[in-house]
């Protein structure tokens, strides 16, 4: 069994109200020096068998069609080390 992670983030130009709220809260809690926060989401996919280049392409296709909305989001696919 192999695990593949898909991280989905709002594109940099899209407003992220949740990240903004977290960013605003940090200094109130005494955490200084954070200049920006963006909130994203992470999918952990468990695959049966080996991770092949073909399987990874499938995962990218999943990410592009369902897991992310390319209009507002970017994604990144990584295999568990």
């Amino acid at each position: 069994m192999a695990r593949v992670f898909v991280d989905v983030m709002l594109k940099p130009e899209i407003l992220d109200p949740q990240g903004k709220a977290v960013h605003g809260a940090l200094p109130r809690l005494g955490f200084e020096g954070v200049t920006d926060v963006r909130q994203g989401k992470r999918f952990e996919l468990e695959l049966d068998g080996e991770v092949t280049a073909e399987r990874l392409d499938q995962v990218r296709a999943m990410a592009a069609t369902l897991l992310s909305n390319p209009v507002i989001e970017d994604f990144d696919v990584q295999v568990e080390a």
Binding site: L10, E13, I14, L15, P17, Q18, A21, L66, L67, N69, V71, I72
Partner: protein, 222 residues
Amino acid sequence: MRVGIVTFPGSLDDIDAARAVRIAGDVPVPLWHGDHDLRGVDAVVLPGGFSYGDYLRCGAIARFAPVMTEVVAAASGGMPVLGICNGFQVLCEAHLLPGALIRNDHRRFVCRDQRLRVESATTAWTSAYQAGQEIVVPLKNGEGGFVADTDTLDRLEGEGRVVVRYVGGNPNGSLRDIAGITNGAGNVVGLMPHPEHAVESLCGPGTDGLGFFTSALQALAA
């Protein structure tokens, strides 16, 4: 005229949309998300709600429901399709309309009577209005912020495809106060506010929303 109302798991305003269609003088036809045909309807409404819980992204899973294949095909063929709130989100996810809807800038769900300006009265769903006319219909959403890149926004504006715009305060951070848009052909319209909640004065802020549903009738009769 027969107007199909699609029910996805988690659709909520389907009965309201059906009532609005009835009050406008049409026949509402329930369509189930798993259906593969549109039962001979002349137009389709994708109602508000939280399809599939909106857990991935609003509308993201509904867009892959079997019935949506038929809706996309029919829309491409010119059938009038109206997406309200969650339905608007589904239309964007299905790429029938450009842009996307993101979380409100203040991060809260908002329910209020919203003033809108009808910017385009040439679509299948707004022909009963005058361009520039102001109307009040309920707005209720948590993820209603319309976003698109600048080129897309400029194109929408340039081609007169902004259908309704918020006036008297932007309730959710939508770019350029955009509340609803249409496709190039004017048969597909999506908007965040809920015209189906403004079709009888007893149970809403007035009857300003009825025009969306009578417009469809006019469009089909024409």
